[in-house]
Symmetry: C2
Subunit: 242 residues, 2 copies
């Protein structure tokens, strides 16, 4: 029944990106390992990547809890966390340009194997776009690098609020000139779907059980009553008749 | 020299849309004439389209001059003007659904013959997007209908300001994480380029001498010292080495 509901009502699919569409952890570890080897810079890149992602939610929460200080886009939060971690990990010999290259690793993330083909199919029947905490330039560059065929870029930066603030989900519907129930969030994270559902969006869970590698502790399966629960994005395209 | 300057500095090309990328006048006249014939609704569709476009700048100026009343997206301004003109032209028998169909004619505009192929070439070397007074849904639907291969949608609606307000040009650079001088506005209208240049963007003029049909009075040629003056978008792609 939920497939029919989605097929009937939904006009736009908006996607969480980090973890849902792209494999940030493997991408960054591979990218930095190759780059470090070429540059002769030794570091435990895997540990750096995991610690960097660990700083992600706290860095956004600091912005969300201090709105009087203004919105800060993710590229800048990433860079602040990176500088702190380079210090903590004692990585030596990184110039300003090197730090910028590392920070832009998030612009070079690789899609999961099913993502590009499935998005291309979904685009034939739906408006598709990211709805991500990544900033507009990050998401735009990522799409060009990875071949993600978005119709438009929807970003926390446009709404000056990070997910799971309501301004993001409701802002996406507003810019699309759609009712919240005509928009479906596709995500690998139950907390994101929970928020979207509470503001009236439809929801699709896709498991990405290797997102955090050996550190994955949650989101192996759907924990809420989502509109759809799919195996991967190809399954989503199948079930939506694309 | 200006071609070299643009090739060296510019990272993103943002496009005026109505008149520059799409032929709104012929598209709307053809669309409404065919639809009116099918529905048996008689009207001077050409006169309606010309009058409707005539109401465009005044309707945005009313929003620009009364910011305390809040921003109003173009679909709504178009609809207000349309309702007024249906009355004035004495067009009978239009239901609410009919009026919505006519209003969405702006979502169905057809590109000039050179647009899609040239944008596809330009996309290989530059970030490309509209920078239009059209709202996000209008521009997104138009791109899907017309096959415009934008990387992202930049709209007055996102900035809550219409061109030529500075918030639009500078907002585009900000969201792209670029300096104004790394962004080039491509437009068929000298006033738009004048504003963009005054805020530090690079500029490219493309003539569209049939945009207003027999009513075209200006913009047959470049009237400012723009970064580039091209024959059409294919010429722009040639000269930018795409």
């Amino acid at each position: 029944m939920s497939d029919e509901l989605a097929r009937r009502d939904v006009k736009a699919l908006v996607f969480d990106v980090f973890g849902t569409v792209v494999d940030w952890r493997t991408s960054l570890i591979d990218d930095f390992s190759a780059w470090g080897k070429e540059k002769g810079i030794a570091a435990d890149w895997t540990a750096l990547v995991d610690a960097w992602r660990g700083a992600y939610v706290p860095s956004m929460d600091a912005v969300r809890k201090n709105p009087e200080k203004g919105f800060i886009k993710l590229d800048i939060l990433h860079r602040q966390s990176l500088d702190m971690l380079i210090e903590r990990f004692g990585i030596k010999g990184l110039s300003e340009a090197d730090r910028d290259t590392i920070n832009r690793g998030w612009h070079r993330l690789k899609p999961w194997p099913d993502s590009v083909a499935a998005l291309t199919r979904l685009k034939t029947k739906f408006i598709i776009g990211p709805l991500s905490n990544g900033n507009v330039a990050l998401l735009t560059n990522m799409a060009k690098n990875a071949g993600l065929p978005w119709d438009l870029i929807l970003s926390a930066e446009v709404f000056e609020h990070f997910k799971p603030d309501p301004e993001t989900y409701l802002g996406a519907a507003r810019l699309l000139s759609l009712e919240p129930g005509e928009v479906m969030l596709v995500a690998a994270h139950n907390y994101d779907l929970q928020a979207a559902q509470s503001y009236g969006l439809k929801t699709a869970f896709v498991p990405r059980p290797t997102e955090y590698g050996p550190h994955q502790k949650i989101d192996f399966e759907a924990t809420g009553d989502w509109t759809m629960v799919v195996r991967d994005l190809a399954d989503l395209a199948d079930r939506l008749g694309c």
